[in-house]
């Protein structure tokens, strides 16, 4: 997820730095990233857009331009509505689970004390693992016949976690959250540490309790961080592939088949690169649209948040 999510943010970098102060240095610093982005982001993107207007089986040297055929095929595919639904379901649920937990853990870790530092290290472990490794591990642990439940003889753990439609989605959300909450907690931890201590001191003098401080100071001050983190979550969830693929391969049936999985199956299993590229373009457009929308919701970034600090 993180590998594909940043480009959306990264794409804004050149415009930002051009308005900057020490212009030439920033341009040079942005250049390597920009070159990489053009080569691995922009150029393949044009390739995919071009392919979406063509017919290609992925093997043949011949790529035929066939206009809107691939788009028609992709949009009339009977599996598309379900894939869209699953994608948005995963997006919404993973946001709903990850955001509150990340804010809480981030706030918790922001306070300096030794045992929190130790716990913070533990929280970050999932961040070090690749999605495929996480998926394989969970798949083994959750196996109803050989997994944790069967091994320990705990009947409650012995559900059909990945073999039943609604449970499989829930399990997927759990694993996604387990994997990415550390990353978002880290963002929130940094943001909470930047909130001036004077605000809390003033609140304390006014007699505000812990809860009141959290809801009246911490949360409003985290507004932009919430937007950044939400953008990464929402756009990132569009690109979940490896985790789903290893964990359920889109199954059972098609109950976890998100757009990215549908794209892979069309392109690399059914040898229909045209319709697969059309879905890729849809994914890009949805991702761009959502991140623009989230920025809009966030309001203007130059508004001061520190009145009274």
């Amino acid at each position: 997820m993180t590998s594909l999510a940043p480009p959306v943010v990264r794409g804004q970098e050149p415009t930002r730095s051009s308005g900057g102060r020490s212009g030439s240095v920033l341009v040079w610093m942005a250049l390597p990233a920009f070159v990489m982005f053009v080569f691995f982001g922009i150029i393949p993107l044009f390739g995919v857009v071009a392919l979406s207007f063509a017919t290609w089986n992925g093997i043949s040297p011949e790529i035929k331009l066939t206009g809107l055929d691939s788009w028609t095929a992709a949009l009339t595919n009977p599996n598309l509505p379900n894939a869209l639904w699953v994608t948005f379901l995963i997006m919404a649920l993973s946001w709903l689970v990850q955001t509150p937990l990340s804010i809480l853990i981030g706030t918790f870790m922001a306070r300096q004390s030794r045992y929190r530092g130790f716990l913070a290290v533990l929280y970050f472990i999932p961040l070090l693992l690749s999605s495929a490794a996480i998926a394989i591990t969970y798949k083994s642990l959750l196996d109803p016949n050989f997994g944790l439940g069967a091994g320990l003889g705990v009947e409650a753990l012995n559900q059909n976690w990945l073999g039943e439609a609604s449970l499989a989605i829930a399990t997927l959300i759990f694993v996604v959250s387990w994997q990415f909450i550390p990353f978002h907690s880290l963002i929130y931890q940094g943001a909470v540490r930047q909130i001036p201590a004077s605000m809390y001191e003033a609140a304390q003098i006014d007699g505000a309790g812990r809860m009141r401080q959290f809801f009246s100071i911490t949360l409003p001050q985290l507004k932009y961080t919430i937007i950044t983190s939400s953008t990464l979550m929402v756009v990132g969830s569009l690109t979940f592939f490896d985790l789903i693929w290893v964990l359920t391969a889109g199954g059972p049936g098609d109950s976890t088949r998100a757009l990215a999985v549908q794209m892979y199956q069309l392109g690399f299993q059914a040898s229909l690169m045209g319709p697969a590229s059309a879905i890729a373009v849809i994914l890009v457009l949805v991702g761009l649209g959502l991140s623009l929308l989230l920025r809009r919701i966030g309001g203007r970034a130059d508004q001061s948040q520190l009145e009274g600090a």
Partner: protein, 437 residues
């Protein structure tokens, strides 16, 4: 700002490393001077990988001037990998496959060498291979692949110890199977093990159920592209029977999330958590390698899929892979092609090759291997050999026979059928929609 830069930098470094790796690892790699250096991609894991490796080692030792370099992949990962490589002109010299519809798509894309003349000139070589195995290697009357390795019928395996423990005997008919299901379920043993996530595993069930119900003609018509070929009442009947099996809990709990690549389905059988399993003959080698002394102690039983009462199909019919297939990339250099052909005509038909596959528990595609059927594997090999030889029809696995596009729709609908997400009628309608595609 800082965090972003860090992210981009690390992404850049990773991409750079990946690029560098591409530069070195391209399988089309330059050939060393003199003899050709062929690359070879195939499947990893027991029982096949060690035999494949041994053949290449033998060839490399006998031909110091030329070199074959193998790379092995997991089954489900290999299928998209080889297609991507072909499309990117990065294909290995030797392309391993299942023949049929997949091979046809390579042929249509001009990616594989026509071997018709090669076999015509070398009648002795052609005579060393079972003639029935050439069918799936032939596209439009021309041979594009060499049949290699083993003939793999799909059979019904059962755990004899579990049958003894429950006090039942092996099923003689489909009716017996239906009677056995509640008996095993009552003891907390799954009647059948099925790796439902892999989908082609579910397909093996449909292949037999359709054949025993309706005979081999229905799929022949589908394969021939006849419109509406799935609209046979026997198909609806068969699909209903399959869904009845699912409803009767014939398969282990969570079968939809069991993947064949991890061999979890095999493990269910040899650990006694499941009583029976429909699987390819290669499963014998996996169970022997992974199941401890299970196979050696005679715990594993096998039979051809039993007849269905009132069904039209010939009970001798079987389904599976009539062989595995090696093609030569048309993009390879002449020297590399020569190396590959030499590999075909020498090492792949030698006695060690034959013995290696027999020892792995497989019936070689090479002729006159019956005399090697001795020792522990003798009975299994004799049975597989006679199932293959006596089959009135040895049908190729559907997903391999059809084009990749039709196969994907088939597998998708089969997975949904087993999840009870589509009704038999919807299944038939969906499948009629992709006939001939």
């Amino acid at each position: 700002m800082k965090r972003r830069t860090l992210l981009t930098l690390s992404a850049g470094a990773a991409a750079g490393a990946a690029l560098a790796a591409c530069g070195n690892d391209g399988p089309g790699g330059s050939s060393s001077s003199g003899g050709g250096s062929a690359s070879y991609w195939s499947l990893s894991g027991e029982p096949g990988e060690p035999v494949r490796k041994a053949a290449i080692d033998r060839f490399n030792k006998a031909n110091p001037n030329s070199k074959i370099t193998p790379t092995f992949f997991q089954n489900d990962a290999y299928k998209p990998k080889i297609k991507t490589a072909l499309g990117a002109n990065q294909a290995p010299t030797l392309i391993w496959g299942w023949g049929g519809g997949g091979l046809k798509s390579y042929v249509e894309a001009g990616q594989v060498e026509d071997l018709t003349d090669f076999f015509a000139k070398d009648a002795a070589l052609k005579g060393k291979i079972l003639p029935g195995s050439f069918g799936a290697a032939t596209v439009n009357g021309k041979i594009y692949a060499m049949p290699v390795e083993t003939v793999q019928p799909i059979v019904l395996y059962y755990n004899k110890k579990i049958f003894e423990q429950v006090g039942v005997s092996a099923p003689q008919s489909y009716g017996d199977i239906l009677d056995l299901i509640p008996k095993f379920n009552a003891k907390g043993i799954a009647p059948f093990s099925l790796a439902g996530q892999s989908r082609w595993t579910n397909m093996m069930w449909l292949e037999f159920m359709l054949d025993r119900n309706a005979g081999s003609e229905v799929f022949d018509n589908v394969f021939a592209g006849k419109a509406g070929a799935w609209s046979d009442p026997a198909v609806l009947d068969m699909l209903t029977k399959v869904q009845d099996l699912v409803k009767a809990n014939a398969f282990q709990k969570g079968f939809a999330s069991t993947a064949a690549d991890t061999n979890a389905d095999q493990a269910l059988l040899y650990t006694g958590k499941a009583a029976m399993m429909v699987h390819g003959s290669w499963s014998y080698g996996i169970q022997k390698a992974n199941g401890g002394s299970f196979v050696k102690d005679g715990g594993l039983g096998w039979m051809n899929f039993p007849p269905i009462d009132g069904g039209k199909g010939d009970p001798s019919n079987t389904v599976g892979n009539p062989g595995q297939y090696l093609s030569i990339s048309s993009k390879a250099t002449d020297a590399d092609k020569e190396t590959a052909k030499k590999f075909f005509s020498t090492t792949l038909v030698d006695d060690e090759e034959k013995a290696g596959w027999v020892k792995s528990g497989g019936v070689p595609v090479l002729t006159n291997s019956e005399s090697l059927f001795t020792g522990d594997e003798a009975q299994f090999l004799k049975d597989m050999s006679s199932i293959s030889a006596n089959a009135k029809t040895f049908a190729q696995s559907w997903d391999q026979a059809l084009s990749p596009t039709a196969a994907e729709v088939l597998l998708d609908n089969i997975a949904k059928l087993f999840q009870l997400q589509v009704s038999p009628q919807q299944w038939v309608d969906n499948m009629n929609g992709v006939i001939g595609k």
